[in-house]
């Protein structure tokens, strides 16, 4: 880490980085607890996830305030500026991640009242594991400033999409087979969508990490899901380009 003449400046920068890492840990825990609450039909855990979301919001505001203060008082340039801006961007991505996890937990509360649907919650769990691996990898890349890891996460974005598409079809089959499951299946569908969005936020964070380290945007072709599935109207991928 480069040295600053004013020691307090370096301390403040470190503090922002540390806060982002802590927030990342919290978001990670929220996502994996939300998935666990679905898989184990654990009502108490789901409630805890919903309650803890406030903490993430507070952390995000705190990081933003600190970053703005640092920009105003120290006028950071070059890598310091990128670090500060990156922290703000990541904080908002992590906050959204937390919101989505909260939403999954809320739906878990509703699902817990219905009959258990083992095979479907298994699929959600599997997709959730994949998404939380990506989140963990990208946060590891951030804390260790490892470019390779961030790029690897960025490049494997299509894995989550594949899982989402498979899940979508599976749920459709279930709903057509037994209309009584439509209510529960819709909740599961939204959960899958939320997980897919969390995966997108992990990709965003990977881009931020790349920018922070190199100062450049990620270039090159990100491996997209092959065309073919895209042109079907039932393919739910179309809504993912909202940012």
């Amino acid at each position: 880490m480069n040295q600053h003449t004013v020691k307090a400046y370096g301390d403040e920068l470190n503090q922002i980085t540390a806060e982002v890492a802590r927030m990342g840990g919290l978001a990670e825990a929220q996502v994996s607890d939300a998935i666990d609450s679905v898989a184990r039909r654990d009502v108490a855990l789901a409630r805890a996830v919903v309650d803890r979301d406030l903490k993430l919001d507070a952390l995000q505001r705190d990081i933003e305030r600190k970053a703005i203060r640092l920009i105003a008082l120290r006028q950071p340039v070059a890598s310091d500026l990128r670090r500060t801006l990156g922290a703000m961007k990541m904080a908002s991505d992590l906050e959204r991640t937390g919101d989505l996890a909260k939403n999954i937990a809320k739906r878990a509360l509703i699902l817990a009242e219905a009959e258990p649907m083992q095979p479907l919650t298994r699929s959600i769990e599997r997709m959730g594991r994949l998404v939380s691996t990506r989140l963990r990898d990208v946060l590891d890349a951030y804390t260790a400033s490892e470019l390779d890891r961030a790029v690897a996460v960025w490049q494997t974005d299509d894995e989550v999409d594949e899982h989402y598409n498979a899940m979508f079809r599976e749920l459709l089959t279930y709903m057509m087979g037994d209309p009584r499951t439509i209510g529960a299946c819709t909740h599961l569908l939204f959960m899958a969508k939320n997980l897919e969005r969390i995966g997108d936020h992990a990709t965003n964070i990977a881009e931020t990490v790349h920018y922070e380290i190199t100062g450049d945007d990620m270039v090159g072709e990100r491996p997209r899901a092959l065309p073919g599935a895209e042109d079907e109207t039932s393919t739910p991928n179309l809504t993912t380009n909202s940012h």
């Binding site: 980085t17 890492a21 990670e28 699929s123 260790a144 494997t156 498979a166 073919g228 599935a229």
Partner: protein
């Protein structure tokens, strides 16, 4: 790695002493000059006195810091420094401990960047990939529960144990012990906490496995069992004297019993592999030899179906670290599938490549097909991989089936795996073996184009030794 002895307790004290010396000399001089004006007759005496006062003050104050601060700076380690052997031995013991151990320093309670890793033993450095001493705690452990427990140990003096899981494909369960170590009195500056991590994955896993095994086994065994008991009933009843029907029924029953046997064998091997999933394999296998061994082993089956197996091996020996039986099982299962889904008289290609980088290993081998990694290992620096690809020209699979292939009992709809029915566990077993070997698995397929499965494993590092001994 011993504590970095901080110079901070010494520095402010010596500057303050400097001031006391200066001020006392100044006061003495002012008083004496004043007296000399009032009583000029004793001026000579006073000058002599001033010199004596100044000199004594100087001597007293300059010597005292070294005497006063010595016990302060070396309070705790004083008995260790008396015996450097013991200190060094303790350091070595700390390094050699199998469980990751960390010592965290406190800083201010509300400053998260104040928690730093003061010491970490080798296990901790490897696990948490700590690069430098004094790394921020949140950069190595992000788990909120553990961070809270560390804070309680630092500022509340409370010991705790926290369970947590690192998410991801290779889900691991950890238990963290946090203990206060005290240290600095008063303000949190020097307070320390001890964190010990222990891997509890295996204990939990065994428990989970039993539950899963029972659920899967009972579900999958029910179908063949129902058909068996149905036929037995028929044979006892009106088919008792019908010789032709009896023979046909007995054939079906024996096929069902075979299926149940295979299923039980697969379930058992799956649960055995899962139990070992977190134990790194110790042996050494030549992937190219393993491939040709398996091709020989299935030759009966391939001749029966008139399938042509084309083996393509590179020049170099592909030595990987792994369990021979398990690697054979991976190749066997992949080849079994390829043969199963090939039409009569078709071709199956099996190729082995070595000395591949991470990116080469999981690169595409079948242009135009959908490609999906089913198992992706953690990226390691400087590791080369050997890969085995099994390619068939069967019906292929649509993209939506690919993510679920390694799921237990998952079967692609509308496909028949021939007379020799599969158990639906083959690829699940492959996945677990590859996970254990820190390798990867990629599937590429498109309807009508067939499928290619590539399994890749890290190679043994000292390749030259192997070549001479092999």
């Amino acid at each position: 790695m011993p504590y970095e002895s901080s110079p901070s307790p010494v520095a402010p004290i010596s500057t303050s002493r400097f001031w006391t010396v200066g001020i006392s000399i100044a006061i003495a001089l002012v008083v004496m000059v004043g007296l000399a004006f009032i009583h000029p007759e004793i001026a000579n005496w006073l000058i002599g006195g001033a010199v004596v006062v100044a000199a004594s003050a100087w001597i007293l104050n300059v010597q005292s810091p070294s005497v006063a601060t010595l016990p302060e700076t070396s309070g705790a380690p004083i008995e260790r420094s008396a015996d450097p052997m013991t200190a060094e031995l303790l350091d070595r013991v700390f390094e050699a401990l199998d469980d990751p151990v960390l010592i965290i320093s406190g800083g201010e309670p509300d400053d998260i960047a104040g928690r730093r890793v003061v010491m970490a033993n080798k296990a901790a450095r490897d696990l948490l990939r700590i690069q430098s001493q004094g790394a921020l705690l949140v950069q190595v452990i992000r788990e909120p529960g553990v961070l809270e427990a560390v804070d309680e140990a630092l500022f509340g003096g409370v010991s705790r144990t926290t369970d947590y899981a690192t998410g991801g494909q290779r889900d691991r369960r950890w238990r963290a012990w946090t203990r206060p170590l005290g240290g600095g009195e008063g303000k949190g500056q020097g307070s320390l906490a001890l964190v010990i991590l222990r891997d509890e994955t295996d204990a939990r896993r065994t428990e989970m496995m039993r539950v899963d095994f029972l659920a899967n086994a009972s579900h999958e065994l029910r179908t063949p069992l129902a058909s068996l008991s149905g036929f037995i009933e028929t044979l006892k009843g009106h088919a008792r004297d019908d010789v032709a029907a009896r023979d046909r029924f007995l054939d079906i029953m024996s096929a069902q019993a075979d299926r149940m046997g295979r299923l039980v064998a697969d379930l058992l091997s799956l649960s055995r592999i899962e139990l070992n999933e977190h134990i790194p394999p110790s042996g050494r296998v030549d992937l190219d030899r393993a491939a040709s061994d398996v091709v020989d082993a299935v030759s009966v089956l391939t001749q029966e179906k008139q399938i042509n197996v084309v083996v393509d091996q590179g020049e170099a020996r592909a030595s990987i670290s792994g369990d021979r039986d398990e690697i054979l099982q991976v190749v066997q299962n992949l080849l079994d599938n390829a043969v199963k889904y090939s039409a009569k008289g078709g071709t199956v290609e099996i190729s082995v490549r070595s000395d591949l980088s991470f990116d080469e290993a999981w690169a595409s081998r079948m242009p135009g097909a959908t490609r999906l990694p089913l198992v992706t290992p953690d990226r390691a620096v400087g590791v080369l991989y050997a890969a085995v690809t099994v390619r068939d020209h069967g019906p292929g699979m649509a993209r939506e089936h690919l993510p679920r292939l390694t799921e237990r009992f998952y079967r692609v709809e509308g496909q028949k795996s021939g007379e020799r029915q599969g158990t639906g566990l083959g690829l699940a077993i492959v996945k677990h073996i590859i996970n254990r070997h820190q390798g990867g698995l990629v599937v590429e397929s498109a309807p009508g184009l067939g499928a290619a499965f590539t399994a890749w494993f890290p190679m043994v590092v000292e390749r030259r030794d192997v070549r001479t001994t092999a």
